[in-house]
Symmetry: C2
Subunit: 114 residues, 2 copies
Amino acid sequence: MTASATAVACCAPLAAPALDEEAAVATAELFKALGDPARVRIVNLLATSGEPVCACELYEPLDLAQPTVSHHLKKLVEAGLLEREQRGKWAYFSLKRDAVEKLAAVADLKGACC
Amino acid sequence: MTASATAVACCAPLAAPALDEEAAVATAELFKALGDPARVRIVNLLATSGEPVCACELYEPLDLAQPTVSHHLKKLVEAGLLEREQRGKWAYFSLKRDAVEKLAAVADLKGACC
């Protein structure tokens, strides 16, 4: 398991009763992966598409060059948020269901505070 | 309104049907504010405390010096996640209810994908 793959695997809810340093690091990694407007837009585009999206379909809506898009996709895959599937020449990306559920749980502080 | 105060105010759900650039920037800012282990731990400590927490009570559990803790608290306040209340010599911090609800909504991709 790579260090980056641990972000989704090891993160813990912000409202967890006892959040240790390791879980805090993994949780921060997950948020950090989403701390960029281009990555927020990629996740949004994948979330609103019913099917895996070719990297080549992202350049235009993001208004970014291919290497930049590839860099952001790599970061999101490393954080464990996206799944990458090779189809011939192109890579297709989709959101990972378990990561999506984990993210929602991590960010859910309702009931724990205020 | 400061630029940083817009993060919580202007962010949009990752699964929003049409996420414009401005909303993507604000959403990324919100995630970025949480993209640090110390800030994740601060939010966790505040979430699991039933009442506002004095900055002075954070140094020991975080194992960080006062200026570092102050820096992280400032970033979280700027992102709109924390409320700061001055009580005599000390500042007390708590999670902002609307920010907590917004964060949960922003990170909730369930039903939108997979």
